[in-house]
Amino acid sequence: MDKKTALHDKHVDLGGRMESFAGHIMPIKYTSVKEEHNAVRSGVGIFDLSHMGEFRVKGKDAAKYLDYILTNDSDVEPGKAYYSTMCYPDGGIVDDLIVYRIGPDEYLIIVNASNIEKDWAWVNNHTAGYSIDLTNESDETALIAIQGPDAEKVAQKLTDEKLMEIGYYAHTSGVFAGKKALIARTGYTGEDGFEIYIKFEDAEAVWDAVMEAGSEFGIKPVGLGARDTLRLEVGYLLYGNDMDHTTTPMEARLGWVVKLKTDKEFIGREVMARQKEEKPARYIVGLEVLGKGFPRQGAELFEGNRKVGVVTSGSLAPTLGHGVCLAFVEKGFHKKGTELEAEVRGKRIPVKTVKLPFYKDGSRK
C-alpha cells in the first residue's frame, strides 16, 4: 500500500498526475514536465519531496559511527552538510545521501525513498560498539523544496533567518512560515534553492505560505518528472539508475566523497583504495546526443560492432533542446570527445562523451 505524503490533497487539487513511486503516491507532473522544468531554470518552483527518508543519529560517537558507515568525512562544522555514499564491504553502493551536521553529536541523514527500509536495516546492523541513538523520522517529516534563481527571494519572505548568510550545503534551524524547520541550502536541480524540513502536520501550512509568497514570482509546483530532467541536465546521479549495489563510487566518479586521504577506517575502504590505484574497468560518463531522438535507460552503446557500454539515464534536456544521457562505458571509451553509437529500436544514434554538467548556467551558489 503506497503512503500518501502530508501534501497529497494539495497535489490532487492542483491537478497533479499522481503515480506510485518508491512506496509513495507522488505527483509526476501538474501541467507539463517542460513547463515545470523551465519554471525552475528561470524563476522558481516548489516540490514535495516528503517521500525521502530521514534518520537522526545522536550521541557521543555519532561522528565516529558515521565515519565508519559512510565513505565521506563526518568532520564538517555544525551547520554544514555533506554528500556521501554508503557502501558494502565490496564497494557496491547501498545508497547515496546527504548528511546535515546539526550539532557536535547530532546529524540528520537524508536517504532515497526507495531505499529507506534497506538503509534503516543497514545502519542498525553496524551500531555495535558505538554510543549512539538512531531514529527513523521519515514518516513524521515532510520536505518541501524551493528551487530556482528566485528561491531566496521567496523563502526570505517567510523567515527571519538571514538566508544570504547560509551558503551552499549549509543549513540552520529556525522558524519558517511560522513553523519549526530545518532550512538548508541544498537541492537536486543545479539551481539555487532551499530544502525545508518540517513536521508532517505543518506541511500544508508551509506549502500554502510558499505558494503565496511565490505568486509574485510566478512560482509553479513541480513534479518528479521535471525533478528528473533537472537533475540529469546537471549530471547528478540517481540511485537505482546510475548507481546501485553493483557499482562503486570510483566507477560512478564519486571518488571525491571517499575519504582515502584520511586514515579513518570505513566500510569498503580496501576495495576503493585498490580501485583508485588500479583504475576502475568502467566509468560513468555524460553523453550528448548528436542526432535526433534520445537513448533511454538500458540502451546499449557501440563502437562499430563492439559493445562498450550501456545508458543508465537518458532524456531530452529541455533547456538544451537535445538528448543527454548518463552511461557506463568501458575504460578507454570514457575520455571526453569519444564518439559512440547508441542502439535505439534497431537504429544507431550518434553520441559523444562530454564534460558534465550538460547545462552549465545554473544559479546554484
Binding site: 507532473k29 517542460k34 518528472g225 531522438g293
Partner: protein, 127 residues
C-alpha cells in the same frame, strides 16, 4: 472515454487519417494514444519520399516512452507539421488539429477505405 471523431479513419497503431481530397491524406496520433504515451517532447519526421504500407515514418518521443508511427498504405509524404519541432506537446493538447503529424499522397483510395471507422476503432481500444 476518448475523443474519437466521426469521419476520420483509424489504424491499429493508433494513427488517425483524414481525407483532404485530391488524393491527399492528413495523419496524426489519436487522443487515446497521446494520453497513453504522456507528454511528447520530440518528433522525428520522415523525409519527403515514398513509403510502403507498414513502413516506419517517424518516431514520437515522450517523457517515458517512444513510439514509431507507420505508413497506413503505400504513399508519398508531401508535408510535415513543422510547428511540432518547437511545440511537440501540441500532439497532447490538440491531437486532431494543431497536433497533426504529416500529409501523404496516394493515387489509390482503397487503402484509406480499408481502415477502421470511429466505431471500429473505439471497439478496438475497448471503449
Amino acid at each position: 472515454m476518448s475523443n474519437i471523431p466521426e469521419g476520420l479513419r483509424y489504424t491499429e497503431t493508433h494513427e488517425w487519417i483524414k481525407d483532404l481530397g485530391n488524393g491527399e491524406y492528413m495523419m496524426g496520433l489519436t487522443s487515446y494514444a497521446q494520453e497513453q504515451m504522456g507528454e511528447i517532447v520530440m518528433v522525428e519526421f520522415p523525409g519527403i519520399q515514398d513509403f510502403t504500407s507498414g513502413d516506419v515514418l517517424g518516431t514520437l518521443e515522450a517523457v517515458k516512452t517512444a513510439e514509431d508511427f507507420y505508413a497506413p498504405f503505400d504513399c508519398k509524404v508531401v508535408r510535415v507539421n513543422d510547428g511540432l519541432e518547437d511545440e511537440p506537446a501540441l500532439i497532447n493538447e490538440s491531437s486532431y488539429e494543431k497536433g497533426w503529424l504529416i500529409v501523404v499522397k496516394t493515387d489509390d483510395p482503397s487503402g484509406f477505405a480499408g481502415l477502421k471507422s470511429a466505431e471500429e476503432y473505439s471497439e478496438f481500444i475497448g471503449e
